[in-house]
């Protein structure tokens, strides 16, 4: 029994240990040292790196920006994915086709989608797609990816296009687990469609909804690819992970102490928010 257990679990556990737990542990260790241009530091700093990061303007700004970003994008994705799931789940024919069509963008890489959005749909010159449409109405071209607040439109549409299908599938799976007799009973009692939605569908989707909310929130804080590729390195719309990347890896700057401290703070923040959210929604 134990031999079979270790035979099957062992390799994965080893991989997890070597490639996940050891790096996490090492990173926590580095966060207490002055680790510039080295991963085997010797100068112990205590909590200095944490203090620096917690008083560091750009890092706090990125955390603030992304709390606001999450506050908008999480509910938006949630509602749209649920609406899409209800629509697709409700149709009688070609359901598999529509499911696949909406799910397909999820298979696209964030980097590829970012480049399409940046270079083709939302480029700033007069012949870009969005600016061509604006031109029909006589408006001046907009430098979408450069000017605040327009870049948020680019980033949010990109994220919605990529993510919606995946969360729609989660909701459809949840919807299909709701026993049909509940609806039948409701209809016999004369319930209207919105009453069925309010009193049957939504309560029955509770576990799915909590999972989707958690995943969305974590994804929002972990945002990296589209911000890195669409916005580049400026101080606007810079997510925490992009800032930490520049601190500890980007363009030759190797400050692993501060980078790791920031990563630990971010992890604690995500864990904290997730726990609170879990408490609130499962009660």
């Amino acid at each position: 029994m134990t031999r079979t257990f270790w035979l099957f679990v062992g390799p994965f556990f080893l991989g997890l240990l070597v490639f996940v737990y050891v790096p996490i542990g090492w990173s926590v260790l580095l966060s207490f040292f002055d680790a510039r241009n080295t991963v085997t530091p010797t100068t112990f700093m205590g909590f200095d790196n944490y203090a620096d990061m917690l008083t560091d303007g750009p890092f706090l700004e990125s955390l603030g920006t992304f709390s606001v970003f999450a506050a908008f994008v999480v509910p938006l994705t949630f509602v749209l994915a649920l609406a899409l799931a209800l629509l697709v789940n409700g149709i009688r024919f070609m359901q598999a086709f529509f499911r696949s069509v909406f799910f397909l963008p999820f298979a696209c890489s964030y980097v590829v989608a970012s480049l399409v959005w940046k270079l083709s749909l939302f480029n700033g010159v007069r012949y870009g797609l969005a600016n061509t449409v604006l031109g029909w109405f006589g408006a001046d071209p907009i430098a979408w990816t450069v000017t605040p607040p327009w870049y948020w439109l680019v980033l949010v549409t990109l994220r919605l296009w990529l993510q919606l299908g995946f969360y729609m599938i989660l909701f459809i799976a949840g919807l299909q687990r709701i026993p049909h007799h509940l609806y039948e009973a409701a209809w016999i009692d004369g319930a209207r469609p919105w009453q069925a939605l309010r009193h049957i569908t939504l309560p029955q989707l509770r576990t799915t909804s909590v999972a989707v909310l958690l995943l969305l929130l974590i994804a929002a804080y972990q945002a990296f690819d589209e911000f890195y590729n669409v916005l580049g390195s400026g101080p606007f719309g810079r997510p925490p992970l992009v800032y930490l990347y520049y601190t500890s890896l980007g363009s030759g700057g190797q400050d692993f102490g501060h980078g790791s401290a920031g990563a630990v703070i971010l992890s604690l923040l995500i864990a904290g928010v997730t726990l609170v959210q879990g408490r609130v929604f499962t009660r």
Partner: protein
């Protein structure tokens, strides 16, 4: 006979072992490993491989690295899997971390032939860490016919430039393109130099701790505010497309685009350095040169130094070929620069003169990435978001001062 379970265990173990053992980045045991970033011009890769093959003493394995070369190199040097020989810009942080080998003895025989300002860009605490390979520089390109049509003469001060950009903006054409970030990355340095300031002084003090800095950066804000900058172009400032396609009348880009611009526009363009702002400032062109370096953690430092000496000091015909046969670079050696035919006429000849008279290091060794981030963030907030220049720059000054204090005491 082996039981199925044994077989599974054995293959699993083998797979793990091979996963750990393969491709640690070490090449053949007797050869040298050399890294380049991916040069855009066709033929460079074949050329550097040809040079490496011609070296008789030890085999040299050339690796071509597309993508984010600087980060990849920094990580490789740190983890000890780095190449023996590589190209990079000299950074004080890499020197302090003991990653680079001083190369003063390697260059000794030809030191006087190298342009002094270029060598200075590879010198930390009096020691040389990179043998300059090729000089790149940036300058302002302008379309003669468009300036003539608008009755604008080539600008010789920053105010004239701001005014020219505004007057050249009309009918779908913008005055100036200096990158999709409104010039923050490429013009912040020239803006400081235009007012007689700098990133860092030779005494390792903050070079822009001066009220005039706010005025200089404010000019970049004026450019952005007047709507005369092209933003959101498909190709960024380092490619000439916006200029050659007629989207702008002026563009800030590099010497390397001269062949493409010439092909598209013929003689209808001229070049200028970034002009001066006031009497204290000077016109400037940013220059940078990748240097050939030796990894201090290499097991073959002596062989690597000898190879660098052979290729970048002794073999002048290869240096000439590398600088002149593919893109457009200025050889860092005076003897080669003066004999280069391509650099004798037109925009290229102007560029050589700008480098002699107005060169400023685009990436000085003591300007670390933490300082650069702090400074460019401040400039970006001023230029793109209209933040107050003096208070933003004050914040950057204090961060840069802390960094300098940490590095130089």
């Amino acid at each position: 006979m082996i039981s199925r379970r044994r077989l599974l265990t054995a293959t699993g173990a083998l797979a793990l072992l091979s996963a750990c053992g393969s491709n640690t980045g070490r090449g053949s045991s007797e050869g040298l490993r050399q890294w380049y970033h991916a040069y855009g011009e066709p033929g460079v890769q074949q050329a550097v491989e040809r040079y490496a093959q011609a070296y008789g003493k030890v085999p040299v394995d050339v690796q071509w690295n597309p993508g984010d070369y600087d980060s990849k190199l920094a990580t490789a040097l740190l983890s000890g899997t780095g190449p023996d020989v590589f190209e990079a810009t000299t950074q004080v942080s890499a020197v302090r971390a003991g990653q680079l080998v001083p190369l003063d003895d390697v260059i000794a025989s030809a030191r006087d032939d190298f342009t002094a300002s270029i060598l200075a860009g590879h010198t930390v605490d009096g020691q040389l860490y990179g043998i300059p390979q090729a000089v790149d520089m940036q300058m302002l390109f302008y379309r003669k016919s468009m300036l003539a049509a608008a009755g604008v003469s080539p600008p010789s001060t920053v105010d004239e430039l701001v005014d020219a950009a505004r007057r050249l903006t009309a009918g779908g054409v913008k005055g100036l393109f200096a990158g999709n970030d409104a010039g923050v990355k490429v013009l912040a340095g020239p803006a400081l130099w235009s007012a007689g300031l700098d990133y860092v002084t030779p005494e390792h003090q903050v070079g822009f701790d001066d009220p005039v800095a706010a005025q200089a950066i404010g000019k970049l804000r004026s450019l952005q505010e007047s709507g005369s900058l092209l933003l959101g172009a498909v190709k960024d400032w380092s490619e000439p497309d916006a200029f050659t396609q007629g989207l702008v009348a002026m563009q800030w880009t590099g010497l390397w685009t001269v062949p493409a611009v010439q092909k598209a526009l013929g003689d209808d363009f001229g070049v200028l350095p970034w002009p001066r702002l006031n009497d204290a400032g000077k016109p400037s062109v940013p220059v940078g040169a990748y240097g050939a370096m030796v990894n201090a953690k290499s097991a073959k430092v002596a062989e690597a130094k000898e190879f660098v000496r052979w290729l970048w000091v002794e073999k002048t015909e290869y240096q000439a070929d590398f600088n002149q046969s593919y893109g457009f670079h200025i050889p860092p050696r005076k003897s080669l620069a003066s004999s280069a035919d391509k650099l004798r006429t037109g925009a290229a000849a102007d560029a050589v003169k700008f480098v002699q008279d107005n060169a400023r290091s685009s990436n000085p060794p003591d300007w670390t990435s933490a300082m650069r981030t702090a400074f460019e963030d401040a400039v970006a907030r001023v230029v793109r978001d209209g933040a107050d220049a003096s208070s933003e720059l004050r914040g950057a000054v204090s961060k840069v001062r802390d960094e300098l204090k940490r590095l130089y005491g």
